[in-house]
């Protein structure tokens, strides 16, 4: 008995081992190609089990996925590992497959004004040395920039030229010139940028009054001046005949093209419901038409009866009878008809109304 149980135990242990091995070993005819840098495994085995057609074989797909993932993870476990904050981390090698571009290729920018000019004249960039020998400080200094070789703003002695005003500050003049050059450069850079992105710079056309402004420039200057208050022009009064400026509102924002379709549907249905509820339940024209129709029918019936009576009684009395009976009967009948109909009007019409609901407040006078 014990021997049997021991044998059984051993057999069972062996079975378990085999099971474990089977779980992690996968047999493939063709080896997979691994790109561990991208965590990619490519399986080139022909998918014979999957090409049968008919409904998708879920079980086979699942088994295939499990096998391939197992192989990939086996490979990952063979990588060199390191410990990072109590976690064992594998060091991935460099990725082999090159991924395609995420964004489209940038389109070529338009040339700047200098580039256009240089191209026109055939000017090529001259190769210049990085450092220049500076006599004053006795060392090699860079050509431009911080602590450059010939910085004329850093001169300690400037001779006043012969034709200049003796009381003028030459140092301030030089720093001023430098600032103007920097500002001009910045302006040109922005202009080049605006040309590249096809945007418009805010122009200062009318803002420097010269006395020879055009009407448009003056108008623009006026608009800019209006908006240049602390409240951005909100409380500025307009002249008596001045019109409001066009296009000074915010740009409209629309819903996205593929918004939530269900929400769109719901809001539209809601709008319909509101529209329908706002319509008057008692349609006055329909009421009058119905009234007219009933009156016509009654009159026609009365005339027919009068005609029959007249024919029976005789020629003379017939018309007389008709004439006499006509107006008073019409007047009486119509008044009575109206009176009679007044009470039965709304309920009768109510049955024809859409919702079949009674609107107490909307009785016809």
């Amino acid at each position: 008995m014990e021997g049997q149980s021991v044998e059984e135990l051993l057999a069972k242990a062996e079975q378990d081992e085999a099971e474990k091995l089977r779980l992690i070993t996968v047999h493939k005819e063709l080896e997979l190609e691994f790109d561990l840098g991208n965590l990619l495994a490519s399986d080139r085995n022909p998918p014979t089990g999957l090409r049968r057609g008919g409904p998708t074989p879920e079980a086979e797909l699942k088994a295939l996925a499990r096998d391939n993932t197992q192989l990939l993870i086996n490979q990952l476990w063979q990588l060199p590992t390191e410990r990072v904050e109590e976690a064992v981390v594998a060091q991935l090698p460099e990725p082999i497959t090159r991924l395609p571009r995420e964004k489209p290729v940038p389109r070529p920018r338009p040339l700047t004004r200098w580039q256009q000019f240089a191209r026109l004249k055939g000017i090529r960039p001259k190769k210049k040395t990085n450092l220049v020998w500076d006599e004053v400080s006795g060392q090699w200094r860079r050509r431009w920039g911080y602590q450059r070789a010939r910085d004329d703003t850093k001169e300690w002695l400037i001779e006043v030229p012969g034709n200049a005003d003796p009381l003028e500050d030459q140092f301030a003049k030089r720093t001023q010139a430098k600032k103007e050059r920097v500002a001009k450069n910045e302006l040109n850079r922005l202009r080049n940028l605006a040309r590249a992105h096809k945007m418009q710079l805010p122009s200062s056309a009318g803002l420097h009054p010269t006395g020879h402004q055009s009407k448009e420039e003056l108008g623009r200057a006026l608009q800019v001046a209006k908006v240049s208050t602390a409240s951005v022009g909100r409380f500025q009064e307009r002249l008596p005949k001045e019109k409001a400026p066009r296009g000074s509102g915010k740009k409209r924002k629309f819903q996205p093209l593929f918004g939530d379709f269900a929400a769109e549907k719901k809001s539209q249905l809601e709008m319909l419901r509101v529209m329908n509820s706002k319509k008057p339940q008692l349609d006055v024209t329909r009421a009058t038409n119905k009234q007219m129709r009933e009156e016509d029918q009654e009159e026609a019936a009365k005339r027919r009866k009068m005609g029959q009576k007249g024919k029976r009684k005789g020629g003379r009395q017939g018309p007389g009878g008709k004439r006499k009976g006509g107006p008073p009967s019409q007047g009486g009948k119509s008044k009575g008809g109206l009176g009679g109909k007044m009470n039965s009007g709304p309920p009768g019409l109510g049955s024809k109304r859409k919702g079949g609901q009674r609107q107490g407040g909307k009785k016809r006078k």
């Binding site: 629309f254 819903q255 996205p256 093209l257 593929f258 918004g259 379709f261 769109e264 549907k265 539209q268 249905l269 709008m271 319909l272 529209m275 329908n276 349609d283 024209t285 329909r286 038409n289 119905k290 007219m292 129709r293 859409k354």
Partner: protein
């Protein structure tokens, strides 16, 4: 291409509701797919979600039309229904007018319907109600506005206009260039 704003949707629904009334919700809420209205170059198109996704891949200036054009918004933001919407209005029409065979051709050339050409008209049509015009063989020919209520139609003389012409299927030939 963009969805309609609240204001535009309201104007459009009011116009369409003149012809089909509360059946409009059957156009919005369809069991066989999600359909929506989109605005492109001032024209309103009724398009299924599938086609919309495909049309989104075409640039705006190259896109001519998508789905069914229901109509367009004029420069003063009024909505004008085009005949291309007839296929969707005819099955849900509340008020119908049938036209005699003799007057059919006149209507298809863009003229109004006279009393002499009127075959049948639905009961209790009110004046200036939107109506769909049919031939005697129940083929939808177009739509219009009732010039007289059903009551008045009975009393009026044969040369009077009973239906103002709004759109007819003859426009497919006459206004081929402007319909998208």
């Amino acid at each position: 291409m963009r969805p309609l704003t609240e204001e535009e949707t309201r104007v459009m629904f009011e116009k369409i509701a003149k012809y089909i009334g509360e059946n409009l919700q059957l156009l919005i809420d369809r069991p066989d797919g999600t359909y929506c209205f989109r605005l492109h170059n001032d024209r309103v198109y009724y398009v299924s979600e599938k086609i919309l996704k495909l049309a989104a891949n075409i640039s705006g200036d190259k896109l001519v039309s998508l789905g069914t054009c229901f109509g367009k918004f004029t420069k003063t933001h009024k909505f004008r229904l085009h005949v291309t919407a007839l296929d969707y209005l005819a099955p849900y029409a509340k008020y119908k007018v049938w036209v005699k065979p003799g007057a059919e051709q006149s209507f298809l050339y863009g003229n109004h319907v006279l009393k002499s050409g009127l075959g049948r008209i639905t009961e209790n049509t009110s004046q200036y109600q939107g109506v769909v015009v049919y031939s005697m063989a129940d083929i939808p020919l177009g739509f219009g506005v009732a010039a007289k209520s059903t009551q008045d139609c009975r009393k009026v003389d044969p040369m009077a206009i009973v239906v103002f012409h709004q759109a007819d299927i003859g426009e497919y030939v006459r206004h081929e260039e402007t319909l998208t």
